[in-house]
Symmetry: C2
């Protein structure tokens, strides 16, 4: 039994009003697997990098107990590179550079030792590749969670819709939910999207928290109000990793556990934005996580 995370492992160069980084460790699978590793020990990664990738970064991932057997290192090729600059409000950003490099012809290889996968996290990536991974699993995992973004809705909507059909949980943000459904009301958007295949839909609203939809049930999770958002990069991936990591840990899929999973995902994401890149998320203690989760409880509980 294991949790398999697919997605990018990459170099990011980030500029925010607080500063600027060189090429640092990034990528959806990096953030998601790091987050999941705090909650569930048998986390495995499927991704691809070039031989320019830093050995210490791979070691960093492996040191969190994450299995990197499925991380291909392509000789003579360069790693995926993304560079972005956040605006002053930290809610919007400009992409400065996107170099696909090894990602351009990524053919995900699922090691035999990953075939015990019960929890599959499809991190943000070409929907076609996400689908390939599902098909290469000999046995359908118990739970498939898919993250995606507006970019794939713009250029690969058909593939995206085909992949969505195959998953249990879809995580997107509010603008993406509106784009995917053509509905402004999130309640109507959720109804349409749940009709496309997934049994659960999570709509991420950044500083406004997240909504979970399942049938006629809705759960509204708060976001922790923060004095400073240092760097939002990877927050959505961290959320997804914490979410599925919690579910893998508890082992039972129901609405009540999904709610808690969202709180754990949100708690981990709230750490992620406190420092640049993976700096905070790779150095957490279980005590810090437990105390942050308690903050979420006190933030949103009331007794009527």
């Amino acid at each position: 039994m294991s949790l398999v995370v697919i997605g990018t492992v990459a170099f990011d160069a980030i500029e925010t009003p607080f500063g600027k980084t060189d090429k640092i460790l990034g990528g959806a699978a990096t953030y998601a697997s790091l987050a999941a590793s705090y909650l569930y020990k048998k986390t495995k990664i499927v991704a691809v990098v070039g031989d320019d990738f830093h050995k210490e970064d791979i070691k960093e991932i492996a040191d969190h107990g994450i299995n990197v057997e499925g991380l291909q290192i392509k000789a003579g090729e360069k790693s995926f590179f993304w560079s972005g600059k956040y605006h002053n409000d930290m809610n919007s950003r400009d992409t400065l550079v996107t170099e696909l490099n090894v990602l351009a012809d990524f053919d995900p290889i699922i090691p035999e030792s990953y075939q015990d996968c019960e929890y599959l996290m499809l991190g943000n990536l070409t929907p076609q590749i996400q689908q390939t991974v599902i098909k290469r699993m000999h046995k359908r995992p118990k739970l498939i969670v898919m993250d995606t973004m507006n970019f794939w809705m713009d250029i690969a909507m058909d593939d995206l819709l085909e992949t969505i059909k195959l998953v249990d949980v879809l995580t997107i943000n509010d603008a993406e939910a509106r784009q995917l459904s053509g509905e402004y009301s999130l309640v109507k958007a959720a109804k349409k999207i749940l009709g496309m295949g997934p049994k659960f839909l999570i709509i991420k609203k950044g500083e406004h928290g997240a909504l979970l939809f399942h049938g006629d049930q809705i759960f509204s999770a708060p976001a922790l109000p923060l004095a400073e958002v240092f760097d939002p990069t990877g927050a959505g991936d961290t959320f997804a990793g914490g979410f599925i990591g919690y579910l893998a840990k508890v082992g039972t899929i129901n609405f009540s556990n999904m709610k808690n999973a969202i709180i754990f995902g949100s708690a981990l994401a709230s750490f992620c934005v406190e420092k640049f890149g993976t700096e905070k998320i790779k150095n957490l203690s279980q005590d810090e996580i437990a105390s942050r989760v308690k903050e979420f409880v006190s933030l949103s509980s009331f007794t009527i």
Copy 2:
């Protein structure tokens, strides 16, 4: 012991993507007192209208058990009139007409029978008039709640700051909190605003719920996700009325009761937007309110 609400009682003409009204009953004091009346019986209103105002509208307010002795009717003058048109997203609107009329020289008269006021709701109005009402109370009320808007920050900031100093609770929206404090982060904004006088700050975020700040404590209240928002007019006033009405009912001011008050305010506001103007908010049953509050509980509760 009573709850006194001051604010506008007015004519509104509203246009939304769902339709258009003629001059209908509106005004901050109307919405706030109607909302409060469901929770607390001794609600009294201070406002001014012209003799063009509809007798049946005043009767409607009085029929909710609201004391209208402080509602001045000015012979030969016209009532305050506001007309607005909402955009498709329902989050923004254009003001088409603002006719101050009787409001231009409104001198609030506090009837002697209102001097038992323990709970004072200063609905959105010139800060100068809000301040006058506080000063005309022989004894400072136990709790003063003040609602205001960006308009007064633009044209009467000094008066606004002077009035804010005198109140216990300030309710504004997120954009207004940023404008008033000059801080983008709502945590930093709240800290600055709490330094201006109020002990409690409520930041209203519309479809994203509300935040309550008090010292270092924060409460995040959800908003009910709605399939259809028919007309947002008066939602903020309804929220404020439900909020103070709940506190007047329970009679004890503490953080825990404030949280519940926000849930009741939010529940009443969620009704308000379901129909045009006051149509829904003037025809509620206690059962409907109780069941809506239960929806808020199930929407946001989780057990970790």
